[in-house]
Each structure stands twice: as structure tokens, then as C-alpha cells.
Symmetry: C2
Subunit: 481 residues, 2 copies
């Protein structure tokens, strides 16, 4: 055959779009490298702000001390022979040592492969967490530790997508992992729009409409993805909304994929899990929900943990047939196992120091410090957006993002077209060039025809960068008015 | 649709086979759990020996001290404020601290996502390693850090497989990652047999034959996989053999995937990289090899590093068009990045302490201790196989495995058939039940019609388990004679 080229390689990869790390991200990294080398004198900014990725520790978020102390002992268990030094000179509390010993007794070496679906004792801790959170017993046999939630999503979509007409209902706007993975798998994305006017809530009528129209177009709709709290929107669903999604899934025999990685990033309302509502309903109305298949995903990358680089997460299955779980097991075994250090972080996320434990006071202080810090930054950014001409933004509800609407002048849309860009891409590119602030155009997540947005994290410290967005925006508007 | 079942899920996953962690492995884990709970009184063994997976640290191999000391500091950088305590009370040398500081200055937090293709400075270290190893400059821009070599293989096969008739030449016997991934991708595996009589060497005539016959059957053969040193065979290819594969690839415009994860596990002969031979040839005969596309893979899971659980590795590309590399970049960016701690281990693997560094003496002692230990164990196992009636085994050459041929009596083959198993599966199942030793049947890797093998690692300590295999084998043969 000919050398590999854009036309003869796997076209499903060529078709996949993943804006979060696309052209803008690449350009921002080039700026960063230039500045690092001291070559950025000609740039109108002195720092690149990566507001495009929910990557807390790249910016200002510090890791939780308890977690990292335990990890240091897991990496170098020889330190455990120096208990005295650790406690007296290095400020390690005894519960840090205990946790490390317990994990090592179950993991062996963190340098060894674990069982394919994860270390059994860690799956046990996840089960206990689910019991505490939801009030219903959980079975570790149906818990799978994964390399972040992304890898869990990849596994589940691989199992679900059997043919090009296999369809998955995906919220729009959405985290582009879903559309990108479906493109790679050559399956059908069935978009349903979230309701911006209702704080990006889920409308069952819209879901039904999307479902019916896909069905009549010949799509075999197999599952519905719910991102709760939402990414990029931050919205948390009420128990009633969750129930209505489950009712619909039960009626149409759809698998429910509940992406709940932002479950602790909630400022407005509270997080209710799909698992809890499903198990409550199963108890209340025996029989009606027996056939519902629910996969819930969680991650160490978000929340106050923010340990993205360690690639840890899990998914929990309810209602899947054993013959299907066998295939899931086989699929995950081909990639051997999730990173073991990431698995250990999952254990600590679901089983953090408790009141009365020596490490608890610092843990609590760090945890709530991060939470309050995020809330404050979200508000500051929101306040800035409110003041901007041509920008509309809902109140921050959770997750790590704001997703404002922008209205750009017609001239800007024309200029964008000349560059072969959508107007939101054009806006974000100019923003990056002028300020060093990297955000993601709304088209990367999907948006209603005719509406324009961008997604920004509120993770970056300080207010200077917010000011630079305000200033840029004013100039942009004046320029193209 | 109906609930998910074995018939309506993705059939390509159902078709994939992955024996390394299949039925035998699952059963062995059940035994292990039983023994751990103290419930194994009825079992004829007191310990499960996992000789099915190349998982050094699950067994006896200790991690390299330098690596783990650095990792402990990366996980808890606050320790670096206590240089005195580290050096005087905890035996950390100054080069450990220096390395940790250097890595942190380039990585930031190990809890942050890195750039999609890996931390630039770590790719720089890999490039320097390739230069030292092969004598030719390397460009970090074409190096991609991955979650073990498996994830690199997954990426490359995703790009290569464009249609069901996209074919990849795969050695048989092989590590089943290749056949399993090709099954999942719905592409065509084009097997070529290695020559057991010539110490499992690569025969170009056999490769050509496989290629031509696939081509005439309508397969669009796109790449050739070479596992060098071999898994499960341990064989190292000579520079001449490598050259002949490259010649063939150049002539037929095949991408070469060189899986070189066992490059330091070599007892007989020496490792020569595909990269070195290709660059030598390009220099010697300008033009002739310009179109060759080579992807070389390496991993922290094998060798004297043995850090499987940390999921680290890289692949390096030569001759790929920029438009293709762009798609590779996009594909890896969808899974965000390889585990950052694993990336740091890659850095230390390719840039270990050097002569004169304070950590060098211990590093060298540990490294050669592991190497010699593996060699001794391989010999002991080989000696045992030589003495067994009905077993033939080549001299250990490298990697972590022996792959003996077994000749079982006709009655055993009949008994196997009654159980619906192949004779080698039957043999391995009986071995597990009788001794607690878990090996993988040759059919899991592929073997010539009519021949039977099993693969065993030589990682387990002691000689007791070897004795138990010998005893079992004798009884098995007597039983079915």
C-alpha cells in the first residue's frame, strides 16, 4: 500500500473532534514554551492561563496532604521502617502510616499489575462508600477500577456500540469525550439539548423527541449519557429529574450511563446519585425497574482531590447480565489494569480521614479551603461576565466551569468566516493571542444552532486574568461593531 | 432494544481472545482468595504461583531503590524541605533529591495532566537515550509517552486499521494483545509463524508467504509486528534479520511495529534495535529506506525495572507523515495523558544513575542482581524441563518466559475433548488444580497445528514450584498413558 496518509488511515479517527486539546490548546503550549525560553518579548502577555482544561493542580490547587503522604510511603515502603523519623521529624500522623500499611498488605507492590478490574480490597472500600452515600448495599464484584473516568467511558461505549447504527443519547453541550469516542467507534451520537433557559437542566420532552426522531431514522438507541453535575454547565439534577430519566430508560430499555465525576463540585442544590434514586425506586415499586441497567462513573481527577495526572477512577454496574460483565472483564483485562497508585488514590478519595483521626483536622481544612476557593473564583468570574456587554452567563452551580453565551457583532462573524472558523473559535483565538488566556469554543461541546459560547474553568488563581478577559472583550466588541 | 446480552453487544469484543487473564487466571485468583481466607485446607497446595503473567513485583522482584525514592519525593514534595532528615536518617542520596527537583520543575505536580503526548522534558530524556543506544540523533517531537506499551499498541493499531480487510502481520506465537486488539478493531490478523527449530527465529520466507497469501485473499496488509526479543519465545533478532525485515517492509511499503519491551532481558546474543538498523541503512543507502515507517515501543513494565503497576512506556516514530502524526496526537489526547508518575519512571529508566553518581553503586548492584537472578531461575526451570519425559524446551534466551513443547498421550487428548478443551488447556488446568501453578496454554499465543506448548514465566522464587511441576507432569503422563 501507499505510505500512511490522511486518506488511508482509519477515517473514524480523522472524523473525531476533540477541541479541549485542539488547535487552541496546541497554540497556547507553543506560547508557554516561548515564554519559558525567554523569547516571548513580542507577546502582549507574560503568562499563559490554561482555562481550557479542568486540571486543578496545573494551576493553583494543592494536593491533599494525607493522600500524598500515604502515596510517598506506598512508593517507598522502606520509609515505614523509620516510623520515628516520619512522625517526629516529617509530620506524618500515625493514621498515614496505618493506611499505607493496610494498602500495601492488600496491593503488594504498587509496581505490580493488580487484578484486571482492580485491587479487591479497594473495590471493597468503594462499595462501602456507595453504601454510605446512597443508603443501599453495594457489591464489589460489580465495581471496576479504571484509569480515570475516560477509560471507563471507553470500556462501556466499546461494549454498547455493536454497529454503525448503535445510538447513544448524549447531552449537548457535553464533554467531547463522548462524541469523539463515538466517532472513533463508528457509532451514532444522538444529541439531546440541555435547556440553557432553565439553568442547563434536563428536559425529558427534549430527550424523548431526540430518541423518537433517531429511532425513526433507523438508529438502534441503546443508552443515555447523563453528565451530573454537568460539564460544561455545572448543573445538578434533582431527584425528580433523575427519576424521570430512569422511568424513560426503564420504558425504552436504555442503559443509563451516569457520569458523576463532579459529584463533590456542587455550589447550588445538592448532588443526588442515579444509583440512589434507582435503588429507592426498585424498593418502592418491585418489578418496574428490574431491567434497568445503570453504569455510574466517578474519578479522582475532579472534586477536591483533583489528581488528574494519577489517572484513577471507577465505574459501578447495576442490572448488567453476568454474560455481559464477563465481556467487560475481558475487555479491561486486555489493557491489564488501571494504574495501581491511581487505584490507591481512589481508595483514599472514598475513604478519607474521619473525625477523630489524627489527619482529619488538616484534611478537613484543606478540603473546605479548596471548595471555598473554587466557589469564590467562580463568583468573581461570574461577576466579571455579568458586567460584559454581549455576554450572558448563568449563576455558577458547580463542576469547574462557566459556559457563557457570547453575542458577537456581524462583522466579527464575517471575519471569522474569512478565516474558515466559526465565530466562537475566532473569538477564542483572538482572546488567546491578546491575553494568553486559553478557553474552549462552545462548538467544541455542541451548542444550539445560532448560539455561541465558550467554556472556561474557574481554577486559575488571582483576578488579573479575569481583568484581561474583560479588557479584551471590550476591545473586540469595539473593533467589530 | 432488549437488555444487553451476549448477542446484542459489540461482537468484536465477544470474538476477542485474551488467555493471559482468561479462565485459568480467574480460577487461580479464586484459589488465592480461598487460601487467604484460610479456607484452602482441601487444596493440594498451600500457595498459588502466578507464572501466567510477566508481573515481576507480584513475585519476588524488588523495585530499584533510586526509582522509588525519587517517586516518594514526587508524591510528597514537602519532604524536600527536610533535606537533612532525608540524607542523614533515611538514606536518600543527593542525586535522588536532585532528580526529584528536576522532574518537579518540569512536571509541576504529578497530580496534574501533562501534555497529551507526555511531559516535554521527559520526551527529551527519551530522545537522548535513543541517541546513546543507537548512535543516531532522535527528535522528541516524534516520541509519545503511553500507559505501558499496550496503550501505544492500541493507538497505533487504531490508526492503521481502516477497514475489516486492513491486515497486520503478527508473529505466532505472540503476546495476545495483538490478536485481541485486532479482533476488537474488526481488522485482519495475518499470522506468520516463527521457526521453533531455529530457536524461534524470524524467517523471511515465511513472512513473505503469509503476506502473499493474505494479499491474494484480498487483505490490504499495512504493517508488520515484530516482538524483539520475543514474547513468549525470548529470541533476539540479529542485525541481519532486522535488515531483511526492513528490506521487505521498504519494498512492500509496510509500517514496521517493533515491540522492544524486553530489550534488556537478553541472555543469549544481544539486543539490536530496529531503529538503529534502519538509520544505519538510511545513511548507507540514501533514498532506499526513505519511505519506511517505523514505530518502536518500550515499557517500564519489563526489564530490571518491572514497574507494571505504574503503567508507563513510550513509542517513537520514524518516517510518519505530519498529517498522520496529527491524528495520532488527537487520538492520544482523547484519553488526556499517560499516568504522570509512570512518565517519571520512564525518565528514570532511560536516564538511570551514572557511574560516579552517589546512587550508582546500589543501582548497579540491584540491577545486576535482578538480571542474574532471572538468568539463574530460567536455567533452573530449563533444566527441569529437559529432564521431563514428553517435554522439549529451547535454551532460555531472554524475556521472562519459557515456552516448552509438550507431547501428551492420546488418552489425555481424548479426555480434553470431552471437556471441550484443547489438550494444552486441559494440561494447564490439571496443573493448576494439582499444584497451584498457573501457566498459559500455548493456544493462547498461537502455535502450529498439532503442536502443544505452555508459557511460564521464570519469575517465581525458589525451586519448590518447579519440583511440583515435575511431579505433576510425571503423574499426568502416567495417568493418561
Amino acid at each position: 500500500m501507499a505510505r500512511l496518509n490522511i486518506e488511508n488511515i482509519n477515517q473514524h479517527i480523522v472524523e473525531a473532534k476533540y477541541a479541549v486539546r485542539g488547535e487552541l490548546a496546541v497554540k497556547s503550549e507553543e506560547y508557554r514554551a516561548k515564554l519559558k525560553k525567554g523569547e516571548g518579548k513580542d507577546l502582549p502577555f507574560s503568562e499563559v492561563i490554561s482555562a481550557n482544561i479542568g486540571n486543578p493542580q496545573q494551576l493553583d490547587q494543592k494536593p491533599i496532604t494525607f493522600f500524598r503522604q500515604v502515596l510517598s510511603l506506598l512508593e517507598n515502603p522502606k520509609l515505614l521502617a523509620h516510623e520515628d523519623v516520619l512522625v517526629k521529624s516529617l509530620d506524618y500522623k500515625v493514621d498515614v502510616l496505618e493506611r499505607a500499611r493496610w494498602l500495601l498488605s492488600n496491593v503488594g507492590s504498587v509496581g505490580a499489575y493488580s487484578a484486571s478490574a482492580g485491587v479487591p480490597a479497594i473495590k471493597g472500600s468503594v462499595a462501602k462508600f456507595l453504601e454510605r452515600r446512597d443508603g443501599f448495599k453495594a457489591d464489589p464484584a460489580h465495581i471496576y477500577l479504571s484509569a480515570g473516568a475516560s477509560s471507563g467511558v471507553n470500556t462501556l461505549l466499546h461494549i454498547l456500540c455493536a454497529a454503525p447504527n448503535s445510538g447513544i443519547l448524549v447531552p449537548i453541550p457535553q464533554y467531547p469525550l463522548y462524541t469523539a469516542s463515538l466517532a472513533v467507534l463508528n457509532a451514532t451520537c444522538v444529541p439531546y439539548y440541555l435547556d440553557e433557559a432553565a439553568n442547563w437542566g434536563t428536559s425529558l420532552a427534549t430527550i424523548k423527541e431526540a430518541y423518537e426522531s433517531a429511532k425513526s431514522a433507523g438508529t438502534d438507541v441503546r443508552a443515555i449519557v447523563i453528565i451530573n453535575p454537568g460539564n460544561p454547565t455545572g448543573a445538578s439534577l434533582s431527584a425528580a429529574d433523575i427519576k424521570s430519566v430512569l422511568d424513560f430508560a426503564a420504558q425504552e430499555k436504555l442503559v443509563v450511563m451516569a457520569d458523576e465525576v463532579y459529584q463533590t463540585n456542587v455550589f447550588v442544590g445538592e448532588f443526588t446519585s442515579f444509583r440512589q434514586v434507582l435503588l429507592e425506586q426498585q424498593k418502592e415499586k418491585p418489578g418496574k425497574y428490574d431491567s434497568v441497567e445503570l453504569a455510574s462513573l466517578h474519578s479522582i481527577s475532579k472534586g477536591m482531590v483533583g489528581e488528574c495526572g494519577h489517572r484513577g477512577g471507577y465505574f459501578d454496574l447495576i442490572g448488567f447480565k453476568p454474560e455481559v460483565e464477563e465481556q467487560i472483564y475481558k475487555f479491561v483485562s486486555i489493557t491489564l489494569c488501571a494504574p495501581v497508585i491511581g487505584q490507591c488514590l481512589v481508595e483514599m478519595m472514598v475513604n478519607p480521614p474521619k473525625k477523630g483521626d489524627p489527619s482529619f483536622p488538616l484534611y478537613e481544612q484543606e478540603f473546605s479551603g479548596i471548595f471555598e476557593g473554587l466557589k469564590k473564583r467562580a463568583s468573581a468570574l461570574y461577576d466579571a461576565f455579568k458586567k460584559m456587554d454581549g455576554v450572558e452567563c448563568g449563576e455558577p452551580q458547580g463542576s469547574m466551569y462557566l459556559f457563557p453565551t457570547i453575542h458577537v457583532p456581524a462583522k466579527a462573524a464575517e471575519a471569522a468566516q474569512k478565516e474558515g472558523r466559526s465565530p466562537d473559535e475566532f473569538y477564542c483565538m483572538r482572546l488567546l493571542e491578546a491575553t494568553g488566556v486559553c478557553v474552549v469554543p462552545g462548538s467544541g461541546f455542541g451548542q444550539k444552532e445560532g448560539s455561541l459560547h465558550f467554556r472556561t474553568t474557574f481554577l486559575a488563581p488571582g483576578t488579573e486574568w479575569v481583568g484581561s478577559i474583560t479588557k479584551f472583550h471590550q476591545e473586540f466588541m469595539d473593533n467589530y461593531r
